[in-house]
Symmetry: D2
Subunit: 363 residues, 4 copies
């Protein structure tokens, strides 16, 4: 969990997005739920490290110390953070969860969905809205300790797959947030550098996890067709041209998915090392986001197809619960639902950026 904490603050010093998501990818090969739950925390740390570096470079000592303190705790294994994003009936730019001013802080009210990692997290980062002096909404981010009064983790995650991810609903009812634990992040409903780059980092790790699931399915398929023998002469099914065709289709899609994710991560590393936190040009960030959205859609889509073909290659065997392919088939289908963006919105976003049209989400 300390992978992305700088070495000087007690971590492993992984500051490349490419390398961070590679670790998540390897977890994904073993277990998808573990991978996406870990990603929630690890990529948050990556964001925090960028903030710390920027504050240090800018000579902003208080902010540098605040971020360093969190990173040291994470490095010491004392802090695990989750950051549930989705809410019923709205998108990520327009959170309905609201922080209202009370003495010395805020009261948080509302409901988050898909709170992956929530059972294990010591802290939660909650995107919400607050009213400014004019009564307009602004986006804000509140950090609360998991056991605080007014937080109810519903323990209700019961889904087709990703069953070990703990993605429960989380309900906030007058949950107190101290003054210093909430910071504003631009106008409600507008893209900001923070929301775009954070979302990209989180989601790139999720995509890496789903690619890992596909890689595991591919390995199982190759193993199965190599070992499985059928018929009177007990010949290996690998000798059947139809099986080889199927395996070739898997190889092609896997090579394409890996190439795309690798390319996007490398481009992101180049981009983010050129632009420290707080100084990222928003237009170029949208271009990068567009590229990532192409990658996200493609890799998630191909990961599903790869697992599907691995299931076909298994004969009926993979349909049984005793066979890990049946779990991979359920798990991998979660990929496209991960915001930002769902397939329904990704095409619209990609098309708009490509054609030079304002990418705001319609409400």
């Amino acid at each position: 969990m300390a992978a992305c904490v700088p070495a000087e603050l007690g971590g492993m010093g992984v500051e490349s997005l490419h390398d961070a998501i590679l670790g998540i990818n390897r977890l994904g090969r073993g277990d998808g739920s573990t991978a996406i739950a870990t990603a929630m925390h690890v990529l948050y740390t990556w964001v925090l490290t960028r903030a710390w570096r920027a504050a240090t470079a800018a000579g902003d000592a208080p902010q540098a110390e605040r971020t360093a303190s969190s990173l040291r705790q994470i490095g010491a294994g004392q802090m695990v953070q989750c950051s549930p994003q989705s809410e019923p009936g709205t998108d990520m730019l327009h959170p309905f969860v609201e922080a209202t001013k009370v003495e010395a802080g805020w009261h948080l009210n509302g409901r988050k969905l898909f709170g992956t990692l929530s059972p294990a997290a010591s802290h939660m980062m909650i995107i919400c809205r607050v009213r400014d002096a004019q009564g307009s909404f602004r986006r804000a981010i509140a950090s609360v300790a998991s056991g605080s009064a007014g937080i109810d983790v519903k323990n209700n995650w019961d889904a087709l797959g990703m069953r070990a991810s703990g993605s429960h609903d989380i309900v906030f009812q007058d949950c107190f947030v101290p003054e210093t634990a909430l910071r504003e992040d631009g106008p409600w409903g507008e893209w900001t550098e923070g929301s775009l780059s954070g979302q990209m980092a989180f989601n790139m790790a999720l995509v890496a996890a789903f690619l890992g699931i596909a890689e595991a399915a591919r390995d199982l398929a190759v193993l199965t067709v190599t070992r499985r023998r059928r018929g009177q002469n007990s010949r290996s099914v690998a000798e059947r041209p139809a099986i080889r065709h199927l395996i070739a289709e898997i190889e092609i899609d896997l090579a394409a998915a890996r190439a795309m994710l690798g390319r996007t991560a490398t481009m992101a590393d180049a981009f983010f090392s050129q632009h420290p936190a707080g100084r990222v040009p928003l237009g170029e960030l949208h271009e990068l986001m567009k590229d990532f959205q192409c990658t996200k859609w493609f890799v998630n889509h191909k990961a599903i197809e790869i697992v599907d073909r691995a299931l076909t290659a298994s004969g009926g065997a993979g349909y049984l619960n005793s066979n890990p392919l049946s779990r991979l088939y359920r798990d991998v289908r979660a990929g496209p639902f991960m915001q930002l963006f769902s397939p329904n919105e990704a095409f619209e976003y990609i098309g708009k950026i490509t054609l030079g049209i304002d990418p705001r989400l319609s409400d």
Copy 2:
């Protein structure tokens, strides 16, 4: 269960394959497991009725009476039949389950997989092999009562989907089959009229069931996007072009799948009414089987895609177990595994028949 029993023998008189599978399709809209389990019995009855009509027409009184007796029992609700086909390590033309001669009958030994309906069946129809006088294998069909000694229904069905279908393993150990309850059906490893037309009828019903699952998913998708509202202005998601695009894709695929299955069933009805049981030209039957295999592959494939798109249309909601779409997604994936044929073999068969090449399965 008496749908395909002739009216004069106490049934509903559905002798059109088209109409029989239409009934299974409607069950499939409600529950896939129920539909495929019912299909096992109902289409067996359809086969039996054809045998009865042929025996009657040919003046073969003993055979006519045997088949009529079974049909009357089915009509009276006293007999439910399952017919497990798959076995580990071999294909349908080369069963390894073997009947060996004992006094007054046979001993059945071996294992069947995917014994759908087995918990509810009063009788089982078991495809097996026997040795003839020269020591060569021949295919045979044995009928046994479910509670007979030497039958062990393993109660081990635990799969990704179709969980209520009772598709347990069934193990036979020296299970006694009376002389009259086993009949030969041609050389082992060769297509016969009986195996081809029986398989086609069973499978056409299964395809209809999977189409029903897709139709249910489509209805859920339309309902969801019509009712679901999002954003500040609480607008229906049906107003989003991306959602309409998705729904249109579902409509196109569903129309194509329905058209194909309807056409094949109509052609099969024309074919089978022209050719009574026992007088079916094998070459033309392979042509019809080829057409059906095109339909089977296409409809199963499209059914999976339709459910997948319905899941996408649902947003994340369909991924939750509380939403029936998650069950439909697991159930519909069983379709392509249903023999005859798996996707790995169907393309080979279709290609061979089209190009005039001997369609024997390679061992």
Copy 3:
């Protein structure tokens, strides 16, 4: 050309849409350009015959006689009609070609694109707009003889495929249309029974032509792989599993395309015989149009894929101009461009009708 003229008026009496497009389909197997050019005239005749039957049934003698007169001319081979639809910069519901009132008639001005059959047509049916007393536009249909003053057939058709279809631009400049040769057809920009059912009939025939192209390509592919021999032992390429896989893919898609078009045409026949011209319920007509649009998109799309696979099956041979596959590849690509609708609009229309949303084209 007299296929759809009633027998009593000197034609072949084909009044079933299914049968009419079957004829076009058979032409399409031979030559795509001939098929689509013929379709322009033949389906116009089908529309005219419906108008004649309706007028006769309604006792509207003048209209019955007008339509009968045209049909008799067509039956006698004295009239061939084309009806160019497309215009630059607008859609079919909003024609810019305009008829302005002059003494004893109208002056027609504007440009039509894709005037298929124009070099051979004796008459042209031109959809245009006129202003009513209030200055609002209404849709109208003008009939003009091809050689009239003010009509300039540009002889400029030079396209990727369908090269023999004569789909030239046609420019009208103060072309005189007599009073009786123009009739109004509802508000400009609104669907009417006439525009919807006419478009459907025309387009169904076009789809049948493109299916014919695909069928021709399939036959060439089968012939090629059966005859072609390669390698030292001069073995038929049909013995290669990859070739059989390819042929099987063609068979599946072709069966699906045929099934869909057959089903839609049969449904259309049932619908139109129930509802005579002038009494068609618009809502149900949109439902039928939606079904047809599913078929149009699917069949055109599959026809392209089938020809593409046939090209693959040919090895490099099909890429040479001496091989008819290269022409089929160019011709078949025209299908999706045929209005109504282009792929860009069809999904939107299908989605709207399915979800109960007003299907008006946005301007």
Copy 4:
């Protein structure tokens, strides 16, 4: 044409495969025929440079001088080389063109197909077979000057696309090849380092050319939908969600295709710089070839889809010959035919390598 000649021999010193094919890709954006014709020569130069470096490193002065001499001529613009590969009725490992021993050299007889660049080449490199002392065939490579007696360039290239590539048939009839201008290259019908790595280099450049065609189509599509206005209000078609969806699909496929080709080229550069010519481990080379075959199939396939979608985005305009999209559509379809491998064989090869099965082509 001197791009891949080392700087010290008068060229531009491009020895990275990645960079060489990038140049071909840029030509492909302008004109596909020019790109593939150029590739024939440029990648041959790349192979030659590797041979020169290896001979120099090994201290093989005569071979170093022979290769250096050719490279110097190419550097000086005095030599342009084509290397036709295909023959009727056989594959690349089993050439039928044969060199038979005559005094002081050989006589070459047979026919090559698709002799791209042949009208402009000063020399031809001809893969053929010779008999060894035991009468067995061996593969050999003969170099002949284009104007030599016994060479007949048929000037018969007349194809769907790539019309400027000059891919004529070339017939050899007792064409004399001097002793020193023919060298053996291993057993006939077996993969060798030379045949595998040469084919890979050539083909990677061709794939880059086809990607360039797709990139040009994408740019035209974006330009078209941005500029094109329709309807009463003359709104840009880029405002239509269906158009944006289409553009997004293009962007996704293009990003995937670029990522894959970039990754494979980078891997190839790493591999070839680690293994000088003559010392390449064949097993690892097959692994790289498998990866490249995944890329070749995928990129060619996606390039076709991208051009197809660009055509859709153009409305009917791209179907006209005056629009460059119609040429791109014809050109891009040549990609999958380029040996090695055709789609029919690529899946088989990829499947075999993945499953550890001997990749020999079946005869």
